[in-house]
């Protein structure tokens, strides 16, 4: 109980990932969907850092850096697209995105 091991961090990462999944599933607003995506990426980063620490290997931290870089570029491009969409349609709800009637 008092000794924090790898499994503690992995379970925490699972819980955070599940919270992010719930957010992706139930949100309708695209901006809040982006927030849920950030939660998913961060939960994976926690797992990477924990594995890197408990196996004495730096590769996990390296991949966490690349995940952070990917998250930053995703936000830049995604927000740009979202602003263009909002200027055209006046709404960022997912329902307004169904113009292809899929």
């Amino acid at each position: 109980m008092m000794e924090i091991g790898l499994n503690h961090y992995l379970v925490l990462s699972t819980i955070l990932f599940a919270i992010g999944l719930v957010g992706v599933m139930r949100r309708k607003n695209l901006l809040l969907l982006f927030f849920a995506t950030e939660i998913l990426l961060n939960s994976v980063n926690v797992a990477f850092a924990a594995i890197s620490h408990y196996y004495g290997d730096l590769t996990g931290q390296m991949f966490a850096f690349f995940v952070i870089a990917i998250a930053a570029s995703e936000v830049a491009v995604g927000l740009g697209l979202l602003i263009v969409w909002f200027k055209r349609h006046g709404s960022i709800d997912l329902d307004s995105l169904s113009s292809m009637k899929g």
């Binding site: 924090i4 992010g20 849920a36 570029s73 936000v75």
Partner: protein, 188 residues
């Protein structure tokens, strides 16, 4: 002892903040709770000895990403309450199944991978930042440069997408000019 206390405290705080982020109906509350959760996540990195990663987490997420979201939200109508999807029971069943499978996999993985050896073992006698630099600029140099180019492309894309018609002011234009601008397609 202190590690356990810090872990449980920050685990509780992080889960609470992210739970608020996915459940609140106010976009501003979601943004604030997400920023707080990002800072609490960096506490785990400091506990795990990944000091540089923790600093990068604070700088990039709360400094850059959250500021970008805050500026981006000025374009949207965020005062309105966010409507939620109606709860679909198939989605809930699917989610809980997925989460259960994840838990099983997570408990099974350390048993499967008992014989893992460190590919790039931590170097004795130097700090975390120095270790990260040694590995990043030798073994991971090419992915590092590719990530730099990807960030440049993302910056140019963000400017091109969001910067269109930035020189026009809706409040300062008269009505017929505004109508003319509205008839043009934004993307063309």
């Amino acid at each position: 002892m202190f590690e356990a206390i810090a872990f449980y405290l920050f685990a509780f705080l992080t889960i609470t903040m992210f739970f608020i982020t996915v459940t609140t109906s106010q976009a501003l509350y979601a943004l604030t709770a997400l920023a707080a959760g990002m800072i609490f996540i960096s506490a785990f990195f400091f506990i795990l000895g990944a000091d540089f990663l923790g600093a990068v987490q604070i700088i990039v997420y709360t400094g850059a990403v959250m500021a970008l979201y805050a500026f981006g939200m000025m374009f949207f109508d965020t005062t309105r309450e966010v409507k939620e999807k109606q709860g679909n029971k198939y989605i809930i069943i699917g989610l809980s199944t997925l989460a259960a499978i994840l838990v099983v996999v997570i408990f099974a993985t350390p048993m499967v991978s008992e014989n893992i050896v460190a590919l790039y073992p931590a170097i004795e006698g130097v700090g975390n930042t120095q270790e990260v630099g040694l590995v990043l600029f030798t073994k991971y140099l090419v992915p590092f440069e590719v990530a730099a180019i990807m960030l440049l492309v993302a910056m140019v894309a963000g400017i091109v997408l969001a910067g269109k018609k930035m020189d026009l002011s809706i409040t300062l234009m008269n009505d017929e000019d505004l109508e003319k601008e509205k008839n043009k397609k934004v993307l063309s």
